[in-house]
Each structure stands twice: as C-alpha cells, then as structure tokens.
C-alpha cells in the first residue's frame, strides 16, 4: 500500500468530516492526525456494528426486529480512539482529547430492480441480509472532559435519520430519532468503574452481514455501571425503562373533561413502562489487552411490566380492559476467539433463550397473548454465529442464525410459531490497495406451523447471490470504512416465498429478483461502547 496516497485520502476525509460538522477540532490536531500512520482498523467486532433503523416489516406477522441498534460492544480489546492529544489536559495518553467530537455512521444507496422500478427487498426473516438495508445515518456529537486525573466525563448524543434522503423523495421530511443521549463518568469510586445514565443503545457484538445483535440489544432510558474488575474480567449491570407509544398495550392518552368544567384535557390513562434489568459478565483470556485471545460472556435480562387498564374506546363508554402485570427473562452466552488471521479475525458463537415479554424484544408490543392477555408461554430460542477471517488480500465474513419463536397464544397452528434461519457468506478479494470485490451468497427460510388454503405446508425460502466491487480508501480490511461500492444481487424465491406477498406486490410474481445499485457506507469516530 502506498503510504502517501493513504495519507492524502485520510486527510481529505478527515477534513471533509470536520468541515461538514462544523466542529471545533483544531487544525493543528487534524494536521497532527493526518501526519500519523493510518489508524489501525477497528478491533474485531468493535466498529463492526454500525447502527441502523428498525428493520422493515417482514411480510408475515413476526416479532419486530430489535429496533435500535448501535455499534457493537467490545468483543476484544478496548477500542483505541484516535489520538487527539490536548495540551494541558488531564487526558490520559491514548485517550481522545477534551472537547467536542463528531462521529458518524451512515449508508446510502441508489438502486434499481432492473425492471424499471426501485429496489425490491427480499428478506423473509426477521434479520436478513444487510444488503437490503435502507439509507440510514447517525450523527454523533460528543463532549469529553477530564475534570481531574483518572476521571473521564462524557456527554454523548446521537441523532439518527432513517429512510430515503431528500434527493430521492424531493420532500423535506425524514424519520428522526435521538438514539443516544447519556452521560458517563469513569474513575469515581473504583478505578475501572464507569457509571452512566441517560438514553442509550446498549448492546454487545453483532453479526455484520445480518445487521443483527443476537445476544444483547437493549434500548432504554436508565443507567448502569461497567466495571473492569481486572484486566480480564468485565462486569456490566444496567437498569432502564421504555414505554412504547403503542396506543393499546403500554400507553394510552385520552381526552378527559377539564377540571375547570370547560373543554377537555389530555391525560395518560395507561402508562406502564417496561423495566429491564440486565447483567453481563465477560471473561477475557488471557486479558483484554491481548491482541489475540478468547472471551466468554454470560448475559441475562429481566423484564417487568406493571398492570394497567386500557379503555377499549375513546369515544364511547365501555368496559375497560384489564392488562395484567407481566414479565420475562433472557439468558444467553457468547464465546469468541479473536485476533487471528492477518486482520481482525474473530468468530462469535451466540446462544440465547428468552421467555415471556422478553421473547418479543424490548421494542416490540407483544402479540398473540394468551387468554389472560399475558405473554407467559411466549419463547424465543436462538443460536447464531458470525466470523471474520482475513489473510493477505483475501477475507471472508460469515453470519448465520437459527431461531425458534413461539407466541403466547394457545394455538397449535399459527404463523406466529415458526422457525427461521439464515446463512450468509461473503468472501472478499482485494484487487489493489484500494479496490476489491466481494461476493455474497446467502440462504434464508421461514417455517411457520401453518397450512395454506390448499392444505400445503409451505416453507418460504430465498437464496441470494451478490457481487460487490468496492473502493476502500483506507485499504484492506472488511471493517474499514468508508467504502464505495457497486452492487448486483440476484435473489431466487421459491413459490412459497412469493406467496408471502400480496397479489399485486411485484415480488409475488418474481421468482428471481434483481437489484443493481451503487452506494456508500461509513463510520468514524463513533463513541466507545462498554
């Protein structure tokens, strides 16, 4: 790789980012930064986890995909932040400078179905191929301070935008969310202790190819503590709440007669936040400083939902519906060897079991409840894996999961009692220092315990082949960003998969779906995660 061209590219990108964000980053710091060797690629699994919007609805009722992802938690050694040393600061060596920082994740694409239409997405599982992802961007604003030696204080906010951009829709509108809004402080009490509070995407390692956090992916407002008890042991606890605006399960707002006697006022007559408590312990072998090693995590969640009363009509007087208290739990584990190969090698294996309201995910309104309107009996069992292996100019990413979901209903035969699974493999070859080509093959299926109107047990299946020539300014590495890419995907659906779509949906008649597009994906300077 020619170091001069890399340096120039880095400088251009860094400058662009800084200018666009109007950030108070000093020119000197930027100059210093560009003068340094190229930063190491993101550590394994960390930085492999760009955030994304909630998954598009799947054609059949399914538990909503855990909807608010972020960057992955540390799988391996703590992330090395870009060094922006600030003179006369308490900042420890190797940590980011005091002041404001800007980070971002994003992806944009333009695509066609080669039939004169826009891109047609083809996933039939809850967490399908990432190639179907819609445009999305996060802008992170972060202020970091070091009030005294040994202490770090951060205020982090992440603004996220989902959906097609203005230049595609011609409309000044977008889906907007604040995905992070929290403060963390390290170094109070115990040296390795970080306390945080606020609204936070809180999660661990992901499966990049599937855009999926299989073990832990929580979205709450709350707080927690992260303790690096030793160099090889990390303990995390968290408690938080969310209360979805669902209109019928957790939240209802009604117009009531005003106490003044005139007119009406609104009141929250159903307001029952879900409280989630989580704990995670991660053991590194030999320790979290090692470039190569092994880690094991155990994760558990408890979900609690108080009772409430729902008014079934807001315009007539009816018997209210009592919504009983409910609960659920998650237990899971992860094993990950990392640091092998030439760059960022890792292999995750996840197992997770959830029950009750936890089986639906923290951002979903439970459906298919039992006769008592409770989710007890609902369950989710998941086995998942992901890996990254890179040698010389070759690399291969994999991702896969197998999932069994049962809603809480007493039904034996139901679309909400299903198995689903996907296997995705993406080999890369770098054709030059800044170019490469990847191919991706994947297979996914969804098998619900139900017969169609002809008495057939149908198993929708989708097989895909994709070709991704790309430009990688930072050189070789499956997680080096940004990348600019072209994409061709051919998706083959069996008849059962076609029948998942309504008759007039073009996908209902297409046994092969094409997708040609160009796009870009980036992330940089994102906040660190536990």
């Amino acid at each position: 790789m020619h170091s001069s061209s890399r340096t120039a590219l880095r400088a251009a990108l860094a400058g662009l980012a800084l200018t666009a964000a109007c950030f108070a980053r000093t020119a000197q710091a930027a100059d210093e930064d560009t003068s340094k060797p190229a930063p190491a690629p993101a550590p394994p699994a960390e930085g492999t986890a760009p955030a994304e919007p909630p998954a598009a609805a799947t054609p059949t009722p399914a538990p909503a995909k855990p909807a608010t992802p972020t960057a992955a938690a540390a799988a391996a050694p703590p992330k090395e932040e870009p060094k922006e040393a600030a003179p006369k600061s308490n900042a420890p060596p190797g940590e980011e400078a005091e002041g404001f920082h800007f980070g971002s994740y994003g992806r944009v694409r333009a695509a066609t179905d080669m039939r004169g239409g826009g891109p047609q997405y083809a996933n039939i599982v809850a967490h399908g191929s990432r190639l179907d992802s819609e445009p999305y961007a996060e802008l992170e604003l972060r202020n970091t301070q070091y009030p005294e030696k040994g202490m770090r204080l951060r205020v982090i906010s992440t603004l996220a935008f989902a959906g097609d951009p203005f230049h595609y829709t011609g409309k000044f509108e977008t889906k907007l969310a604040i995905r992070n809004l929290f403060v963390d402080v390290r170094g109070i009490g115990l040296p390795g202790l970080t306390l945080w509070a606020g609204s936070r995407m809180y999660r661990g390692d992901d499966i990049y190819l599937l855009d999926f956090w299989p073990l832990d992916n929580l979205n709450t407002v709350g707080g927690g503590a992260i303790l690096d008890a030793t160099k090889s042991t990390r303990v995390q606890i968290h408690v938080g709440t969310n209360r979805l605006i669902d209109g019928s399960f957790q939240y209802q707002e009604r117009q009531l007669p005003s106490p003044t006697g005139v007119g009406s006022v609104s009141a929250q007559t159903l307001n029952r936040p879900r409280t989630i408590v989580s704990g995670k312990i991660t053991q590194f072998f030999p320790d979290n400083q090692a470039r190569q090693g092994f880690k094991v995590s155990l994760h558990a969640e408890g979900h609690l939902l108080p009772s409430g009363v729902l008014e079934s009509s807001t315009t007539t007087v009816r018997s209210p519906t009592y919504l009983p208290a409910d609960n659920g739990f998650v237990i899971g584990a992860q094993a990950t060897p990392y640091g092998f190969g030439d760059r960022d090698g890792f292999a995750h294996l996840f197992v997770r079991y959830a029950r009750g309201i936890a089986a639906y995910g923290d951002l979903s309104t439970p459906f298919g409840l039992n006769g008592e309107r409770r989710a007890s009996g609902a369950s989710e069992f998941l086995v998942a894996a992901a890996s990254n292996f890179q040698v010389d100019r070759f690399a291969v990413l994999t991702g896969a999961y197998l999932r069994r979901f049962n809603d809480a209903s007493s039904a034996v035969y139901s679309v909400n009692k299903f198995w689903e699974g996907i296997l995705s493999v993406r080999p890369y070859v770098y054709t030059s220092e800044h170019t490469g080509i990847a191919v991706e093959g994947s297979y996914q299926y969804r098998n619900a315990n139900v017969l169609d109107n002809w008495g057939k047990h149908r198993v929708p299946q989708v097989a895909r082949f994709s070709l991704l020539p790309f430009v990688t300014p930072w050189g070789w590495g499956t997680f080096r960003r940004p990348i600019l890419f072209a994409l061709y995907t051919a998706t083959a659906r069996n008849e059962s998969a076609r029948l998942m779509y309504p008759t007039d949906d073009p996908r209902s008649t297409r046994s092969v779906e094409h997708y040609v597009g160009i796009g870009a994906e980036w992330w940089f300077n994102s906040s660190s995660y536990p």
């Binding site: 079934s312 009816r318 018997s319 060897p337 092998f340 190969g341 090698g345 890792f346 292999a347 995750h348 294996l349 459906f367 298919g368 409840l369 039992n370 006769g371 086995v383 998942a384 894996a385 992901a386 890996s387 990254n388 292996f389 040698v391 994999t398 991702g399 896969a400 999961y401 197998l402 069994r404 809603d407 809480a408 209903s409 007493s410 039904a411 034996v412 035969y413 139901s414 679309v415 909400n416 009692k417 198995w419 689903e420 699974g421 296997l423 493999v425 297979y443 299926y445 098998n447 315990n449 139900v450 017969l451 169609d452 109107n453 002809w454 008495g455 057939k456 047990h457 198993v459 309504p502």
Partner: protein, 634 residues
C-alpha cells in the same frame, strides 16, 4: 492458519448444519391428503349442534384481530381451535354432529358491522383467518371424528359480500342520494326518493343509472378496494374462470330486496303452478314480478350481491369452490344458506353434482340440508324434490309447533296436522324416496328440526319459560327427523333477534352442571338408548283441538315402542283424554288408545313418574301435570 480457519468457519458451519432443524415441525399429519371417513350410518341417529364459530370458544388468541368483544355485531374471537378444545363439552351434551359457520374469507367489516358470521364471502377458496388455518380446521374435524362427532359445513351460494356499488349517478363514488322535490305540482307528484348506491332498492329489469334528466341504462358497477376491511373484489383461486366474479354477468344486479312477497303466493307463481283459491293472492300486490322476483334475484339487505346462479359459469365456479372444500376437509355434509333465494334449477344442478363428487371421494351419505326461511310448508317441501337437497331446515315446524304449540297456546293438534298430514302432502308426495347417492333416507324422515337458530330470536326470548323450553326440547329429541339445537340453548340463552341471539358461550365458563344442560343430556341419552326414538315411525295418539293440552305420539320400530306424552298447558293438569288424530272434526273426546297391549306397564324414563298400566282396549288414561312430559317405555 488452518487452526484459525477452523475456528472461524466452525461456528457458522455449525449454524448451517442446524438450519435444517427449522424444518422439523410436527403438523400431526395435517398436511397430508385428507382421508374421507364414513361415520354416518343413518342420519336419523344424528343430533346436530349448531355452532356459531365466532361465539363458541376462543382457543387461539393469535388470530384475534380486530375484536370488539362488547359489540354483538363485531368479531369476538371464537375459532376452530376453540371448538376442538371444547369437544368434550359437545360430547357431554350428547349431540353427535356439529354444524359450523361458513369457513371462507369474508368481507371483514362493512359499515362497522363485521362478517363474523361468515355469510359475506369475499374469497371462495380462502379460509377466514379469524377462525384459523387449514391445519386448525382439519385438526378440529379430525378431533371431532375421533369422538364420532360429525361436522357439517355451512355454505352460501346465493350471494357474496359487499363487493361493489352501483354507480347510479356516474360519479365514480358510492353516494347516498335523495331524488325528487318532495312536492306535488301541477305536473304530478315528485316524491322524495332515497337511493344508496351500495344497496339501492330492487328494480326491474336492473338497477338503472340516473341523472336529473332521467334514466340512463344499466348502472355501472364499481368494485370496492379497501384492503383494511377486506373489501376487495371477490376471488376464487383455481376457478375455471377466475375473473368471472369481476364481471356483470356473475350478478343479477337488480338491487336490494324491499318486498319479500308472500311465500304462499310467489311460490306458486314462480313455479308456474295454479294458486289455490284459499290463498287470496292479489294479481298485482302478491303475484307481480316486482314482488315475486325480488327474493330470487334481489341483493340480500346489507349490500350482499346476488349471484346470477342461472349463469352456467357461476354454477361451475360454485361447484368448483365447494367441491374443493369437500376434498380438502373431511366434512360430513353441507348446510346450505338462503335456499329460496336461488332458483330450483340451480339446486337440481348443484346437488347431484355434489353428491357425485362425494361418492368419488368415497364419502357416503353426504347430507345436504337447506335453509328456506319460510313457514310455508309447501315451499319448504319443494326443495327436496328429486335431485334437489336431501332435507330442509324445518321452519314450518319451528313456527307452528315450537313457537305455536310449545311457546304459545296453540292447539296441540297443530303439531299432528303439520307433522303428519302436511308432511305427507308436502314432502312424501314431492319425493318419497331418498336422493340418489344422497343422505340415505327419504326427505320426510330426515327433516332438520329446530327451536331457534342464529337468524331468529331464541326460544326463551320474550317469554322466558324454562318449562316450555324443556317441553320443546323433549319434543325435539323424541320426534322423528334430525334434532338440531342452537348453541347456548343448553345455557338458557335468551337473546332476541340477530345479533342479540349470538351470545358468547364462553361467558358461561362451559358449565355442564346447569339444569337445562343436564336435561338435554338426559334427552340425548334417551334418544341414543332407544332405536325407536331415532328410527321409529311416528304415530300420533292424542291431541287437543281447542288449545294447549295433551299431545301424545308413539315412536315404534319392529322391536321397540316408545310413547311420548306432553301436557302443554301452563297451569292445568290434564288427563290423557282428547281427540284421536283421525277423529272427525266434531268428534267427542275419549281416552287415549296406544299401541301397547292391554296390561302393559309403562315406566317414565325421562321424568321418573309412577308407572302406568295400559287398560282394556289398549286405552291408557292418567293425569299429566302442567307442562309435564313423560317418555314411556315397556
């Protein structure tokens, strides 16, 4: 490197290896081809229990979409899994056959009234997702059959749901319009006329387009498309002509029935028969086409579009649709809706073909009984003519006997008149033989008897007399024919007309300890125990021609004889003295003469009354308390 490669590949390979696990579902063979069983030996042995699927039991909460449990005209959540879960309840009652609501996908909701009942077909070949999927349906039928409970499917051939509107004023949207000035001027009256394009009044020869300048030919029809309420054009997947139901030729297009006519007049007119002079049918008011064509050709109120069943293509489509369900699910018979709204020629075409198909499937004694909502017995009987249905829902009996004799105070002789004399004229004379490859009995032997159903107020409505109900039930389960009881009768439901008569059964917690439940249980047990009550001839022995009082009949086979005696009077005890059925009109009353020999001691196997002994000349005289029933056997 090889070791690292292994580490990398193994987890994903493990998952890949696990993927086939997801194919391992137990569908309990529900996805296998249906094996058709022959469970019915003789339909006279069967006792039907009518289930309104949406109101019976909610066994599958995963299909609880859009429920409004407090509103009787909306979906409440019952489903096929609920039926399967409560077959023990059905079995405990002693009934042997269940009749379930139509299973096809309906218009979900129209004007905030739901298609929970199943009579608003939108897709002839799709299942109603509120009730479950094919596996749930097959599983329920299989479970019922395992208990020797047969399953009869309700079908509709007359109409579909609210598929389109008549664009009378040509503006492309469904309007409600008012025409006319509402005044009387020199040039004549201009009355106000209300027209609703979804459901305009019946007119001849078709619903016309109109503007302020006058009529403008046939009104265009425009199909509605509202996916949220499943107001989408009718479908028939696999039909010989899948686009048929999108064309005008599939419908009569004459608008909604507003004059139901007098059945005793229109029956004769529509069948080209001379009207008996005692019916006093006015040639204009009672016999004109604008009156008598409305029932067979008009849309059913509520915007339900009347199918052009004269069209061979429509007939072929309906054949296809219902044969398909016979093949896919092992039903034991059809209950057919709105019989009198469809021409006889249709039934003569439809019924034999269905029977032939049942035979091809290996299904014997496939029962087809129809609903002709009329108390006019000759009209009812006309539908069991050779080649038509096997049996009818015995509406004339419902009105004359159950409402008249048992609920009202009509002479008990009315029962004999209808069940013996009229039956001979209106059924046996029409068709004394069983239908070819049909249900296995002549129509008059398998009429479907009922007290009430989902289209009429419950027996207990208005005059909630439990003793009258029990008498009526005793009659239902001891007379000849096939008894059919509407769900909830066993729980003393007393709802008025639709939809008040469609209560949620689960509100009773499926209690089997109630008196009425136990009474019905004893009646069904008696019917099972005594061949004569199921298959025996029915001979009337005594009646009261003046009002409520004694009604007695025997059921007898070559081996067994059962005497059933009622006193329908609310307050007075009566001796078994009255008129014999064949007495002359003014003949004096006398003691009952029975078919048992002199000196035979008869015991009451229903109420446990003291035994009675047959006297000389086979006379039998004893006193019956008010509303008492005795079932006497040797």
């Amino acid at each position: 490197m090889r070791a690292w490669l292994k580490r990398c590949v193994v987890p994903s390979a493990l998952i890949a290896a696990c993927l086939p696990i997801g194919a391992c579902f137990s569908l309990n063979d529900m996805d296998q081809d249906v094996k058709h069983e022959n469970l019915v030996q003789d339909w006279r042995d069967e006792m039907i229990y009518q289930i309104l699927t949406d109101r019976f039991a909610n066994g599958d909460t995963s299909n609880d979409w859009g429920l409004h449990p407090g509103d009787p005209a909306r979906y409440h959540g019952g489903d096929w899994k609920g039926i399967e879960d409560h077959l023990d309840y059905v079995e405990a009652l002693g009934v042997t056959t269940i009749w379930i609501s139509p299973i096809v996908k309906n218009v979900d909701s129209d004007a905030s009234i739901d298609g929970y009942h199943g009579y608003w077909t939108q897709d002839f070949t799709a299942l109603n997702p509120h009730f479950g999927d094919m596996a749930a349906l097959r599983s329920m039928v299989k479970a019922a059959h395992a208990r020797n409970i047969k399953v009869v499917l309700d079908i509709v051939t007359n109409h579909i749901g609210q598929a389109f509107f008549y664009d009378i004023n040509g503006n492309g949207v469904p309007d409600e319009a008012v025409w006319g000035g509402g005044y009387y001027g020199a040039e004549g009256p201009h009355p106000l006329e209300h027209r609703m394009e979804y459901d305009p009044d019946f007119e001849e020869p078709y619903v016309k387009a109109r503007t302020s300048l006058g009529e403008a030919g046939p009104a265009p029809i425009i199909f509605v498309y509202d996916a949220a309420s499943n107001h989408i054009p009718p479908l028939c997947d696999g039909c010989p002509d899948p686009g048929l139901f999108l064309r005008r030729e599939a419908y009569h297009l004459q608008g909604r029935v507003w004059n139901w006519g007098r059945d005793e007049c229109c029956y004769y007119r529509n069948n080209g028969l001379p009207v008996p002079p005692n019916f006093n049918c006015d040639p204009v008011k009672d016999l004109s086409s604008i009156v008598c064509d409305q029932v067979p050709h008009g849309d059913f109120p509520g915007g339900l579009k009347d199918l052009n069943t004269e069209n061979p293509a429509v007939r072929e489509a309906l054949q296809y649709a219902f044969r398909r369900w016979m093949k896919l699910v092992d039903f034991d018979g059809f209950r057919i809706d709105t019989l009198k709204h469809v021409e006889h020629d249709f039934w003569k075409d439809f019924a034999p073909k269905i029977r032939a198909y049942a035979k091809d499937l290996g299904k014997q004694k496939f029962l087809m009984f129809g609903e002709a909502f009329t108390g006019f017995d000759p009209m009812l009987g006309s539908y069991v003519a050779p080649g038509e249905v096997d049996s009818v829902f015995y509406f004339s009996q419902k009105y004359t006997v159950f409402d008249g004799v048992f609920k009202g105070k009509a002479p008990t002789s009315n029962a004999r008149q209808l069940l013996r004399d009229d039956r001979a004229a209106n059924y046996d004379a029409v068709n004394p033989l069983e239908q070819v490859d049909g249900a296995g009995q002549p129509p008059s032997k398998i009429l479907v008897n009922f007290l009430d159903n989902h289209d009429v107020a419950r027996f207990l409505y208005g005059e909630p007399s439990l003793v009258a109900l029990r008498q009526a039930l005793a009659f239902l389960y001891t007379e000849d024919g096939i008894p059919c009881m509407y769900y909830g009768t066993e729980q003393n439901f007393a709802g008025g007309n639709d939809p008040a008569n469609r209560e949620d059964l689960w509100a009773t917690s499926f209690s089997t300890s109630g008196d009425t439940f136990q009474y019905i249980r004893s009646l069904t047990a008696l019917r099972k125990q005594h061949d004569a009550l199921r298959r025996g001839d029915m001979t009337f022995r005594l009646e009261d021609r003046a009002g409520p009082g004694i009604l007695a009949f025997e059921r007898s086979t070559g081996n067994e004889r059962v005497l059933v005696v009622f006193n329908t009077h609310d307050t007075e005890a009566r001796d078994t003295v009255g008129n014999k059925p064949d007495d002359a009109p003014n003949a004096p009353t006398g003691a009952m003469v029975v078919g048992f020999g002199d000196g035979t001691v008869l015991k009451d196997v229903l109420g446990g009354a003291a035994p009675v002994t047959v006297g000389a000349g086979s006379t039998l005289q004893f006193s019956m308390g008010p509303r008492e029933v005795r079932v006497l056997v040797q």
